[in-house]
């Protein structure tokens, strides 16, 4: 899924993103949550919070859990791994993962892989695949 065919969308300038905080972006009509978690590192997950059905993930607080970079949904506070999309703390609900996007920072430009969809579990050390319905709606 990665490689030469990946089409990169320019989304915004790096300076448009605040360190340790998320921002929403519209890419091909899709709502994506971008998080600048380092000077030049940006991560992208779906903006849709699977637990509330609202487009709000970018407004969560960035943090860490046992080494993983996380975001806590602002709605009901479930915690997700920003790199893998995995739900790390479902707070008693059924775990539902977030879809993730590959992000590239080139110069001052932040780019998101348009079709470079990475399903949860396929990257990172997590291993186990998450439920498909969290990614299914937007699967190419």
């Amino acid at each position: 899924m990665t490689g030469a065919q990946v089409r990169w969308h320019e989304v915004c300038g790096l300076d448009d993103l605040v360190l340790e905080r998320g921002a929403a972006a519209l890419v091909d009509g899709e709502q994506i949550a971008l998080f600048r978690v380092g000077e030049r590192e940006v991560l992208a997950v779906q903006q849709l919070d699977p637990y509330s059905g609202a487009q709000v993930i970018s407004r969560g607080i960035v943090g860490s859990r046992a080494g993983a970079v996380t975001v806590a949904s602002p709605m009901y506070k479930q915690v997700f791994d920003l790199r893998t999309g995995r739900c790390l703390d479902a707070l008693g609900r059924e775990p539902q993962d977030l879809r993730t996007w590959s992000v590239r920072v080139e110069g001052d430009i932040v780019m998101v892989a348009a079709e470079g969809l990475v399903a949860p579990g396929e990257t990172g050390a997590g291993g186990a695949a998450g439920p498909v319905d969290a990614v299914g709606a937007a699967a190419p």
Binding site: V11, C12, D16, L19, Q31, A54, V56, I61, S64, K77
Partner: protein
């Protein structure tokens, strides 16, 4: 065991019956017994000991005991509102006043006592009350309130009897605004519990509360007024007291009439005679509590009654328990007057020595009674400062460590307070008979890691609560000893509690999250999380009041604080402009209404007397607020863990009954505390008279007007665990009131745990409500000036966050809906009409675009 359970009938539905059923159900695992409780009162057993607190605002429900599930247990039947009228020992039946006859295999008499009505002419006049049941107290309260409404002067009351109950009744009358006199037959108040020296001081403390005390005299007659109600007391010494209400508190009489009629033996002064197993001469009949006469005495305290209930249960289940002897320790539950008596308070033990520390200037009298070698503690009396009670009482009969006189020094200066050295078999909680060993085992064997868990596990501290400080100390010591890291830490990034972190940050002066985490965080602290980041943001806001969206601080905020609005279920926000005291001009109302119309917002009046505007999109917030700020409004902080509102009634400016200007005070308080960040949301209320229309006592800080000033209540909470606020101070003038609230709020902000509201904070903070009172009113910690300065700085640097944001283009960038399309509305938002306004569409409605009245394409009229 036989298949059919045996029938146990308990006559009486008081505290002892409750304890008996609770203990039986806890221990009778095989269901050998079915128990039927015949309660004369129309309610389940309740905490009669705490009855006085009904006056300080607790609901009757909050007096209920134990778990309500007990009465739903299939092995338990509670018959309410039915008095037992006859007992047939031969037929083994009990008849109730509805004619029902019930058989029993075993019977327990737990009928308690009735208040003794002295043979005084006029004791039956309207306006003369006893003080025993919720109904008694409700009737008394109703009478005083009714009289108060019809009089243009304070109601005058008298309590006949200056014992424990009499003083509590006097406190209750006083709390209702009554000018009260206590008439005591004996030489001093509480003469059954404390000695003359303590009594002299107690009288001064009681008088200081505004209660008159007459000792060494009796009431010879109660006269009616011209309406046939109670009007005047005539005393044997020739004195006269004009009264509108009288409470009789001259003792109790065991309710042994059923037993007498059935032929059971009664004691010389009443009470059903029982042996040390609490059994009457009839082997199938037992008696427990105040009605039981053991060794010729009936005991009018709950602790021995509980012990008897446990004995009876043990015997019913085949055990051989005997009554362990009475713990007659008592503590007066009266706000502002600390009295405790325990063990051999009158030094009746041969050779007993008395060690007395009396400081009339400081209002303290303390006496320890020691064995003839001055080593073993036998008992004591504490008046004015009973803080040593919880630690000393379990030491009765044991050698005191170190110099006994150290225990008489003022609280805090005593070298070694008991706790660590307490033997395992020492009783810590006498209400529930819990030993120090049991408390320790709750930590070591049952994995309890805090006081709340230990209370739930052992029941220690769940009745009168006087032992909670000791339980807390034991639990802390035991956790320390077990090497258990006390889980006060916030999260994996911060091992400190919020209060500790607050102090640390205050002392080190660090002002950025990264610095704070480097210095005070754990090894993995770097990034923080949604727990510790908002805490740090809140602490920083309290310490130097920078803008919530300044620099790095913005990233620490929860979305509500980040965009200064309240996130709703569909991802839109609601907006609440401040309306101080709920007072709004017609122009203001029109302005809010016009904003709502122009932006298509749903409007609703909040519980805090303001207007909530729902359905605002992120990118609309600055536009909405520009309009509101231009119309003179400012942030209402509805989104923050901060001061929300000061609710008020209309007060004396318009109301026929108001005695003070509640609105003016509410506005002043709201403008003073607006923007104050705190561990949880804070709400205040101000009522202009005792009718309390502002429901101030449901607030963290409630102010209720009196004809002499303001009464200040603290610790009220709505929410998940509703609590009524408790009285902190009475009849304050406005300046003292504001100063006291200043200190209370800053003390809370600095020392409470994350998301700990004021009521649990008061329960947990050192010394409880009395401790808070000592800190804010008497400056016992010497920090009052610091607290005052902190609030003064808050008031000085306050600025409207929304106005400041509108003036700052950098901050405004945070309100972009999309980083690459800043003004494009979230296309997923959808609304339908309901009762003339919009609301978010349900998933079903979204599937059918025909029903949508407003998507994000709704045109904004402006």
């Amino acid at each position: 065991m036989s298949a059919l359970p045996q029938q146990l009938v308990v006559i009486g539905g008081g505290m002892v019956a409750q304890r008996l059923v609770e203990a039986l159900r806890a221990r009778d695992e095989t269901g050998r017994w079915h128990v039927t409780v015949l309660a004369e009162e129309p309610r389940a057993p309740y905490d009669r000991v705490a009855l006085t607190s009904y006056f300080s605002g607790r609901d009757p429900e909050s007096l209920s005991l134990g778990s309500p599930d007990l009465w739903g247990d299939p092995c338990v039947t509670l018959v309410r509102g039915r008095a037992a009228t006859a007992l047939d020992l031969a037929a083994r039946t009990v008849r109730t006043d509805d004619g029902t006859v019930r058989g029993y295999d075993r019977l327990v008499l737990a009928t308690g006592s009735r208040p003794t009505v002295p043979p005084i002419v006029g004791a039956d006049l309207p306006g003369v009350f006893v003080y025993r049941t919720i109904d008694d107290v409700a009737a008394l309260r109703g009478w005083v309130e009714e009289r108060s409404a019809g009089l243009d002067r304070p109601v005058r009351g008298a309590v006949i009897g200056g014992g424990l109950l009499g003083l509590e009744a006097a406190g209750a009358l006083q709390a209702l605004g009554t000018r009260t006199t206590v008439v005591q037959v004996g030489s001093h108040l509480m003469s059954a519990q404390i000695d003359l020296g303590g009594g002299h001081l107690l009288r001064r403390l009681i008088t200081r509360l505004g209660v008159d005390v007459r000792v060494d005299t009796t009431t010879s007659r109660i006269r009616a007024n011209d309406r046939g109600q109670v009007g005047r007391l005539e005393l044997a010494d020739g004195g006269r007291i004009d009264v509108d209400v009288v409470v009789l508190a001259t003792g109790v009489t065991p309710r042994d009439e059923l037993a007498r009629a059935a032929g059971l033996a009664v004691g010389p002064r009443g009470g059903v005679v029982v042996d040390e197993a609490c059994r009457t001469a009839n082997p199938r009949v037992w008696a427990a509590g105040e009605v039981a006469c053991l060794d010729g005495v009936c005991l009018g305290l709950v602790a021995p009654g509980y012990a008897m209930a446990e004995v009876v249960v043990d015997r019913l289940l085949g055990g051989s328990a005997v009554f362990p002897g009475a713990d007659t320790a008592t503590k007066l539950k009266l706000s502002g007057v600390d009295v405790a008596s325990f063990g051999d308070a009158f030094a009746r033990t041969p050779g007993a020595l008395e060690l007395v520390h009396s400081d009339p200037a400081a209002g303290v009298y303390k006496k320890l009674v020691l064995s003839d070698d001055a080593r073993t503690l036998l008992g004591g009396v504490l008046v004015g400062d009973a803080s040593a009670y919880a630690g000393l009482r379990p030491m009765v009969g044991r050698p005191l460590a170190g110099d006994p006189s150290a225990h008489l020094l003022p609280a805090g200066s005593a070298a070694a307070a008991p706790g660590g050295d307490l033997p395992d078999d020492a009783t810590v909680c006498s209400c529930n008979n819990v030993t120090a060993g049991t408390v320790r085992a709750a930590v070591t064997d049952h994995g309890c890691t805090d006081v709340a868990a230990v209370k739930a596990c052992t029941r220690a501290g769940t009745s009168c609560g006087s032992c909670v400080p000791l339980v807390k100390r034991l639990v802390g010591d035991e956790l320390l000893r077990a090497g258990v890291a006390v889980s006060a830490g916030l999260c994996e990034h911060v091992a400190l509690s919020r209060a500790q972190l607050f102090d640390a940050v205050r002392v080190t002066g660090l002002r950025t999250f990264s610095e704070i985490m480097r210095r005070h965080g754990t090894a993995v602290a770097g990034r923080g999380c949604d727990i510790c980041k908002p805490v740090v943001a809140s602490i920083l806001a309290s310490l130097d009041d920078g803008h919530v969206l300044d620099d790095e601080r913005a990233a620490l905020q929860d979305t509500n604080d980040h965009v200064m609005a309240n996130l709703q279920k569909d991802g839109s926000y609601s907006v609440v402009p401040r309306i101080p005291g709920g007072e709004v001009t017609p122009e203001g109302l029109l302005a809010i209404g016009q904003v709502a119309l122009d932006f298509g917002l749903y409007t609703k009046i909040t519980g805090g007397q303001r207007i909530d505007l729902f359905g605002a999109r992120l990118e609309q917030l600055p536009d909405i607020w520009r309009r509101l700020v231009d119309a003179g409004f400012e942030s209402g902080h509805a989104y923050g863990k901060s001061l929300r509102t000061v609710k008020s009634c209309v007060g004396s400016t318009w109301c026929r009954y108001g005695v003070q200007d509640a609105v003016a005070l509410a506005v002043r308080l709201e403008l003073r505390y607006r923007g104050l960040r705190s561990p949880h949301k804070l709400k205040l209320g101000v009522s202009g008279c005792a009718r309390e229309c502002a429901e101030a006592r449901a607030k963290d800080v409630g102010v209720v007007a009196t004809d002499r000033g303001w009464n200040l209540y603290v610790g009220g909470n709505g929410g998940f665990t509703p609590r009524h606020a408790r009285l902190l101070a009475e009849d304050l003038d406005t300046e003292s009131l504001v100063r006291t609230i200043d200190r209370f709020l800053v003390y809370y902000v600095r020392t409470a745990d994350r998301l700990q509201r004021t009521a649990p904070w008061i329960d947990e903070v050192e010394g409880g409500l009395d401790g808070v009172r000592a800190v804010v009113l008497e400056d016992s910690l010497g920090i009052a000036a610091d607290l005052d300065a902190a609030m003064a700085r808050h008031v000085e640097v306050y600025e409207d966050e929304w106005k400041a944001t509108l003036d700052d283009p950098v901050k405004l960038r945070r309100f972009a809906s999309f980083v690459n399309a800043p003004t494009t509305a979230d296309p997923s938002l959808a609304y339908v009409a309901e009762r003339g306004q919009v609301r978010p569409a349900t998933p079903t409605e979204r599937a059918d675009p025909a029903v949508l009245v407003a998507g994000t394409t709704l045109a904004v009229r402006s």
